[in-house]
């Protein structure tokens, strides 16, 4: 009589499979965030990245310098209002970032607070919340627009090129890693052991692939006359959305100086 025993995956095998699954999910989520950037079409996209970047940097400096809770709360209120107008997914992202920053800074000053020596330090979590909201709104800017904005701020060409190429390579290598991990998962069939070692192999392959890709990309750039000057461009208009964004920042700045 033939044995009809099914090969059951060992506990180690399941554990390693879970590890591969987790890596797959991480890759998919990072790739989907980058992809989602191309599909954004909320009101905030109408504001030019250059104005967003300048206003955000300016406000972060003001928040850091401010000793007035009125100003910081005003910044938070204005940004919460802006967040409320976002799409749900973007809203969740910004609020999650802000809540994490707020929670973490609360934890940091908790000892001082319990010992009754908080003083001005009690403003730190609120400032962290304000800064995280500003940064969160800035994080909604498409990567490619951000590099154009940095170019206008006279950031070095080399830095911009590295930024642009990194984002692109992240997608390509991410997709490559995803395929390799999927192949690894299919070939493992829940078998035992070697999960971490296989994953290191995937890492090695991705590294070699990235070297090959960067060489080819450099050759492609040379073929199109690349001689070290990198010029991402884009129009810098001043429409209604830009004007609104700059005016709101100017209003907050006025509040900083008068409180």
């Amino acid at each position: 009589m033939k044995s009809s025993k099914k090969p059951s995956p060992s506990r180690g095998g399941l554990k390693n499979d879970a590890f591969v699954d987790k890596s797959l999910i991480t890759f998919i989520s990072v790739l989907s965030i980058i992809r989602a950037q191309d599909r954004q079409d909320s009101w905030i996209d109408r504001v030019n990245a250059f104005y967003k970047l300048c206003c955000s940097l300016f406000l972060i400096v003001l928040v850091a310098l401010s000793r007035s809770p009125y100003f910081v709360f005003a910044v938070i209120s204005v940004h919460l209002l802006a967040v409320a107008l976002l799409k749900t997914a973007s809203m969740k992202r910004v609020l999650a970032l802000a809540a994490t920053a707020f929670g973490f800074s609360c934890l940091m000053i908790a000892p001082a607070f319990f010992m009754g020596k908080a003083g001005f330090a009690s403003l730190i979590p609120v400032k962290a919340l304000a800064s995280a909201l500003i940064a969160g709104m800035l994080s909604l800017v498409k990567f490619q627009e951000l590099t154009s904005a940095l170019k206008r701020l006279h950031a070095p060409d080399f830095l911009l090129m590295v930024l642009d190429l990194s984002i692109r390579s992240l997608v390509m290598l991410g997709e490559f890693s995803l395929e390799t991990l999927q192949a690894l998962k299919m070939r493992r069939l829940g078998g035992r052991g070697g999960g971490y070692r296989s994953l290191a192999g995937v890492g090695g392959t991705v590294f070699l692939k990235s070297k090959e890709m960067s060489e080819e990309m450099h050759q492609a750039m040379v073929c199109r006359g690349f001689a070290g000057t990198y010029r991402p461009m884009g129009k810098l208009g001043f429409g209604l959305a830009n004007a609104g964004w700059v005016l709101a920042t100017a209003g907050l700045a006025a509040l900083f100086f008068f409180t």
Binding site: T147, D164, I167, M172, V222, R224, G225
Partner: protein, 270 residues
């Protein structure tokens, strides 16, 4: 226009091209034909000034393409204005954030002002049927669209020589047909075409002249495409076709199954 004199090249001691000599005239359409790893891509890279011969010479309009000459930015710029290269892996060729910037990259490097850049980009996008794709990220496009963007990026600067490495790789039949017709049209307009391929049908359609590479990385034959495609023995010796390759009237093909009469499903009479 282009000349190679006994050019050899090796990657880390591994020969990739041996003693290659050829001449390509302006307006010609030439196919570099050979099995995988026979040296076609290396020759294309050499023609495009991306690798330089270990021995021998590579000349473009009677000027030597060498490490020294290409380190002169003025010479390199003038050279790359006349040359256009579409890589086998187009993914590597698309490095800008959106299609518009991708096509504009070469033009901006040449030094055109933004108005001219916009005009030329629009022309190139129109030519390749990509109007409306300006704001799309190249890495989100399909394989065929990526190939079209790569072509548009190269054509925007109106090069005299168009070289393509395995242009039909990964393309569906419809896009492949479009690309063939597009390249024929470009050749008819006076552009010199150099195509590296192992696709015999493409050679038959695209070029009057074919250069066959042997497995020893040498040029095995340089002759009219039709004569080369008729010489099945030579193609076999270059390890490009196997014993199942045969011709029906004008076109050669091979099946994915043996022609031995076995009575089993899949066997046929050719």
């Amino acid at each position: 226009m282009l000349e190679m004199i006994s050019a050899s090249y090796s990657y880390g001691g591994q020969p990739a091209l041996r003693n290659a000599s050829l001449k390509i005239e302006k307006g010609e359409s030439v196919c570099l034909l050979g099995a995988n790893g026979s040296g076609k891509s290396t020759m294309l890279k050499m023609i495009n000034g991306l690798v330089f011969p270990d021995s021998g010479k590579c000349l473009f309009e009677s000027k030597e393409i060498s490490r020294k000459s290409m380190s002169d930015p003025r010479f390199a710029k003038a050279f790359y204005r006349k040359m256009g290269f579409v890589f086998q892996n187009v993914e590597a060729q698309l490095f800008c954030a959106d299609v518009y910037d991708e096509v504009a990259f070469g033009l901006r490097q040449i030094g055109f002002d933004e108005t001219e850049v916009r005009m030329k980009v629009e022309d190139a996008l129109k030519l390749t049927g990509l109007l409306g794709f300006e704001k799309r990220a190249p890495y989100h496009l399909s394989g065929g669209e990526k190939k079209k963007v790569a072509l548009a990026a190269v054509l925007a600067s109106d090069p005299e020589v168009l070289s393509l490495d395995e242009p039909l790789n990964g393309l569906d039949p419809r896009t492949a047909r479009w690309l063939c017709e597009f390249l024929q049209d470009q050749n008819a307009k006076g552009k010199t075409l150099i195509i590296s391929t192992h696709n015999l049908e493409l050679v038959q359609e695209m070029s009057r002249r074919a250069i066959l590479f042997g497995e020893d990385h040498t040029i095995f034959a340089d002759m009219p495409s039709m004569s080369l495609l008729d010489d099945i023995d030579m193609l076999k010796r270059a390890n490009l076709v196997d014993e199942y390759y045969h011709k029906h009237q004008d076109s050669g093909h091979s099946h994915f199954h043996s022609h031995s009469v076995s009575g089993k499903p899949g066997a046929d009479k050719g």
